[in-house]
Amino acid sequence: MFKEFAKGLSITLKHLLPGNCTTVQYPKQKLEMPPRFRGLHRLIPTPDREKCVACYLCPTVCPAKCITVVAAENEAGEKYPAVFEIDILRCIFCGYCVEACPMEAIEMTDAYELANFSRDDFHFDKQRLLKP
């Protein structure tokens, strides 16, 4: 009986020695996210506009129905999204929008610190989504 107690005590004592700490000092020290990480979305821009052609695949495939797209045509006759909005509060970060996009116009970044103060701050419109 005492042998087992001593064994347990020795295991904890061993971990007391320096070098066993696994803590990452989070706000000061951040982990690098792997490339596949599914964080906040980003619309990929081209030099003059966004790559998105408003094909409606992402709002269709979205299981949480959090994407709103309204298509329009510009002067050159190209389709573009007049409105592209993601409600991050509804989003479940499944990555289906990225998988569905035929133009590779949407990607998921490694931004995961999404806390904010009001509900409106979680509506990401086109301008905010285009930011790198």
Partner: protein, 393 residues
């Protein structure tokens, strides 16, 4: 004069440190002895079964992540296998996919058992084990993150294959981690197994006989600790489990201590399976050759009109199945996880019924704790390894 004896009813949960989520137990106590225990569930009901009726087969996969959120890939696997069975493409799944699925679900088993051990030990008061287990679990979530992009809601398996191949160099990382795992299990055992206090708290606590367990429908490690040798991986293999050499740990103590030992042994067996699967892993396709079901590769979508059409059709309409009913059960970390699908020929399931192991195992709780002490309730909740996300669905 007769003593004034009354039982006391206490509400344990849904906000209680050790009901593992939002389980509510109405306990009738006579002193510290439990006279009657009534579990109340449903606080985490999100209607996943109903939601799935309005989503394509493809769109339901991320919902299954949220069933047993401690073992997301097992849920993914169960669902994906069920849909594949419904579509009749089970035999067309490439070998590499099978291997990766086995590796990931066995890692999931390790992950789930680590959280179980952590919380179980914490409930009984050994808080150091909690952090040691979470240290190892962290490595698995890191692997998850590299493979699927999320730490818990993996959404990695697809009908007919995988979302993506394993990233470069990850095989080595998995191997290093898995090879270090037995030493860690020894460490937990050093803190718990031989410890008199741990033995006193677990031996003879929450006993359930094999007959009673079978009557209730208890599955998984809880059943195997009651002496029933039943493991779907061996007795009804799926995903190529018949290729691997592993033992099914069975013990006959029927109590909390033996359930603990069975799970620790299972962790060692999982390590064996993962190592074998890694050895057998060969390069190959990661999607079945079923263009009407699986999404085509991205470069084909832009270059090939046929692929583009398939892509649009699958994304917008989903794929249709033949009308029919199927049941697919897998050995999830917590027991038999079953998906029962009724298809009416459309792209949506007519009805999806999930058989969550935790829900069924929880039914054993009242007879395991009645007549025991309050502290045993905690130990039994821990040993049943319930996850409320799965119970309430």
């Amino acid at each position: 004069m007769a003593a004034n004896t009354e039982t006391m009813t206490i509400n344990m949960g849904p906000q209680h440190p050790s009901t593992h989520g939002v389980l509510q137990l109405i306990l009738e106590l006579d002193g510290e002895i439990v006279v009657k225990a009534t579990p109340h569930i449903g606080f985490l009901h999100r209607g996943i079964e109903k939601l799935s009726e309005h989503r394509t087969y493809h769109q339901t996969i991320p919902l299954t992540d949220r069933l047993d959120y401690l073992a997301p890939m097992s849920n993914n696997l169960g669902y994906v296998l069920a849909v594949e069975k419904l579509l009749g493409i089970t035999d067309e799944i490439p070998e590499r996919v099978q291997r990766i699925r086995v590796i990931m679900t066995e890692l999931t088993r390790l992950k789930s058992h680590l959280v179980w051990l952590a919380c179980h030990a914490l409930d009984i008061g050994a808080m150091t084990v909690f952090l040691y287990c979470f240290r190892e679990r962290e490595c698995i979530t890191d692997i998850y993150e590299k493979v699927s992009g999320a730490r818990m809601t993996s959404n990695y398996f697809r009908v007919g294959g995988l979302a993506d191949d394993l990233p470069d160099g990850l095989e080595g990382e998995i191997r290093t981690f898995v090879e270090s795992m037995p030493a860690h299990v020894e460490e937990y055992e050093g803190l718990l197994t031989g410890n008199r206090i741990w033995q006193k708290r677990t031996i003879g606590v929450g006993e359930i006989s094999a007959e009673a367990a079978i009557d209730i429908g208890i599955t998984g490690p809880s059943l195997r600790a009651s002496g029933v040798d039943w493991d779907l991986r061996r007795d009804n293999p799926y995903c190529g489990y018949e290729d691997y050499d592993f033992d099914v740990p069975v013990r006959t103590g029927c109590d909390t201590f033996d359930r603990y030992r069975v799970r620790l042994d299972e962790m060692r067996q999982s390590v064996r399976i993962i190592l074998q699967a890694l050895d057998k892993l060969k390069p190959g396709p990661i999607l079945a050759d079923c263009p009407k079901i699986v999404l085509p590769p991205k470069q084909d979508v832009v270059n090939n009109i046929e692929s583009l059409i398939h892509h649009f059709k699958i994304v917008t309409e989903g794929f249709k199945t033949e009308p029919g009913e199927i049941y697919q059960g897998i050995e999830a970390p917590k027991g038999e996880l079953g998906f029962y699908l009724i298809a009416d020929g459309s792209a949506y399931p007519f009805r999806m019924k999930i058989r969550p192991p935790s829900f069924v195992n929880l039914q054993g709780l009242p007879q395991m704790v009645e007549g025991k002490l309050l502290a045993d309730v905690i130990a039994v909740i821990g040993t049943l390894d319930i996850v409320l996300g799965e119970i309430d669905r």
